[in-house]
């Protein structure tokens, strides 16, 4: 750990952190409403317009861990790390086609979670439980990784050799986060996202202008990175372009991740908090702005190579920042990254809390909660989820959270048939969908585990493919076969609580 303390950086950092903390508590009065109602606490009363939703979802999806880990991957392997680009571009045509239907049906039927929708659509609280458990399970390590993003920033600013420094700072930051999420619900991250996203954009623009000027332009940066990769051994493959063996892995990772993105509870929560289906559509058009920022952030990996930073892994970006900027501005960038951890961590814990309350607690523990009790359970769950994530980071090796998050993406994708197909057709039956989910979960986890938790698997005759997609295919096949068999046996179907018109916009009659 760094022995010296960067006091100026700490000072600027603390200033922004205090500002945001105040905002977090003030947020409870914003668009004032009764926060003892779960849809007010956990969905901001579904009142967020286009701009707020843009900031909220942008702050939610492009996280601190992204800012740290994507350039770190690019620094190590090169072009392959850029799969995040196609991934976050092709996600939005999908969002445009699918998520407005989800918004409409959830709004019409007062659903707060994707699992609520699944339960109403198929009349099966078991299938809803599967969707809810998957969401909670995938979210926990994701929150933990946000903490990791914060931790590397703290370490870069230094503690004068104090051994537990980063952990103490982390616990303090998290206690603050937990308190304002508890009091303000989704309004807190929505308000903080404004500040955080603007700061991230300032950081990216400054990095783009200042660092290439110091390093002799983008041509020189790419050349330096290319040379560094050529000096590396042939395996594992690296380079400025994809090696032939990486092509199918790159494309299938992009596709699978794009499909999984909006199934995550934090993305669904941000979407359902929008004030109309058109707000969701407009955001499918506007959110890619963040993908430009992401692409430029990924380039920081090459800049770090050209700047000869002396560290590796997650420390690369903080080191590049400290090396390239005056210390006060480094503090500003670190604050942007740390706030970039708080926003998604808050939304993730709220999304998980909504799932636990509505799809685990209500059907299996207490079916007769009044709204105030419901919102209390959610608030307490959001605390527990965060404490759990903190414990992850403090007590378990970093590898554990990274591996679980990777598996989390594979798991999340297995809720695709129940949720996304369900928005368009009711042909699939709930039990076969559950069987498909179980198949996909088992197959995906096993394939990944057998190779020491890797995201891709070598399919004979095709090449490396994203395991999440392989498992999804098996999942769909099982669900389809099961449905055909049940139909042939003329088994009874449970009632559908949704109506065909629920999926369309209210004002449009076509």
């Amino acid at each position: 750990m760094n022995a010296d303390v960067h006091w100026t950086a700490w000072g600027v950092f603390a200033l922004f952190f205090v500002l945001v903390t105040v905002l977090g508590f003030v947020a409870s009065r914003w668009k004032a409403a009764d926060l003892t109602q779960l849809h007010e606490w956990g969905l901001g009363g579904r009142r967020f317009g286009t701009l707020i939703t843009w900031f909220l979802l942008g702050g939610d999806l492009y996280t601190a861990y992204t800012v740290i880990a994507v350039p770190a991957l690019v620094f190590t392997v090169g072009a392959y790390g850029f799969f995040a680009m196609p991934y976050t571009i092709i996600a939005y045509p999908f969002v445009f086609a699918v998520m407005p239907r989800l918004w409409n049906v959830c709004h019409r039927n007062h659903y707060l979670t994707t699992a609520d929708f699944v339960e109403g659509r198929y009349g099966s609280h078991w299938l809803a439980l599967a969707v809810a458990l998957t969401g909670v399970l995938a979210t926990m390590p994701y929150i933990a990784l946000q903490l990791v993003g914060m931790q590397v920033v703290f370490e870069a600013m230094g503690f004068g050799g104090m051994r537990q420094g980063a952990e103490i700072a982390l616990i303090v930051a998290f206690a603050i986060l937990a308190l304002y999420t508890y009091t303000s619900g989704l309004r807190a991250p929505a308000m903080i996202a404004f500040v955080k996203d603007i700061m991230i954009y300032i950081f990216v623009i400054a990095a783009l202008v200042i660092i290439p000027a110091q390093l002799g332009g983008f041509g020189a940066i790419f050349a330096a990175a290319g040379e560094a990769f050529q000096a590396k051994p042939a395996t594992p493959p690296t380079g400025l372009l994809l090696q032939p063996s990486q092509v199918t892995a790159f494309a299938s990772l992009a596709l699978g991740s794009a499909f999984a993105l909006f199934l995550y509870p934090h993305a669904a929560t941000g979407t359902l908090a929008a004030s109309s289906a058109n707000v969701v559509r407009r955001n499918a058009i506007l959110l890619p702005t963040y993908s430009v920022a992401l692409g430029l952030i990924a380039l920081l990996g090459y800049m770090a190579i050209a700047a000869h930073v002396s560290v590796k892994g997650n420390a690369v970006v903080p080191a590049l920042i400290m090396q390239s900027f005056p210390e006060w501005f480094a503090g500003f960038c670190y604050a942007a990254i740390a706030l970039g951890a708080l926003v998604p961590a808050a939304i993730m814990s709220i999304g998980a809390a909504n799932l636990v309350t509505r799809n685990i607690w209500r059907p299996y523990v207490n079916a007769r909660m009044n709204p105030a009790q419901e919102s209390n359970i959610a608030k307490i769950t959001s605390l527990l989820v965060k404490v759990g994530a903190l414990a992850f980071v403090v007590f378990l090796p970093l590898e554990f959270a990274i591996n679980l998050q990777l598996l989390g993406g594979i798991w999340m994708l297995q809720t695709f048939p129940a949720v996304v197909f369900g928005l368009f057709t009711r042909w699939f039956r709930p039990l076969p969908l559950l069987a498909g989910w179980a198949t996909g979960m088992t197959l995906g986890t096993t394939l990944s585990w057998l190779q020491g938790v890797k995201p891709v698997y070598a399919v004979p005759g095709v090449g490396l493919l994203y395991i999440g997609l392989i498992a999804l295919v098996a999942n769909i096949v099982v669900a389809a076969i099961g449905t055909v068999i049940a139909d042939a046996l003329k088994a009874a179907r449970a009632a559908d609580a949704t109506k065909p018109g629920d999926f369309a916009d209210a004002s449009v009659t076509r």
Binding site: A79, F82, M85, P86, I89, I90, Y92, P93, F94, F96, A97, P100, G217, F218, G219, A220, I221, F222, L240, L241, L242, V247, F250, A251, A254, L255, A277, N278, R281, R282, A284, I285, L286, P288, T289, S291, V292, G295, L299, D505, S507, V508, R510
Partner: protein, 61 residues
Amino acid sequence: MRRFLPLLLLVPYVALLWVPFYNTREPVVWGFPFFYWYMLLWVPISSVLVFIVHRGSGHER
């Protein structure tokens, strides 16, 4: 014609998932190899395509 407009949503998938098409160095623009600026360029193109589909759908009135 309007019925087929949503098919535009598929274009980014073809453009970005057919990786061999853009996994090349030339032409270099502003120091950026093709692989990189091609992907960056597809962000606005994809947005415009979704915008066109949205306009044509009649949801915005």
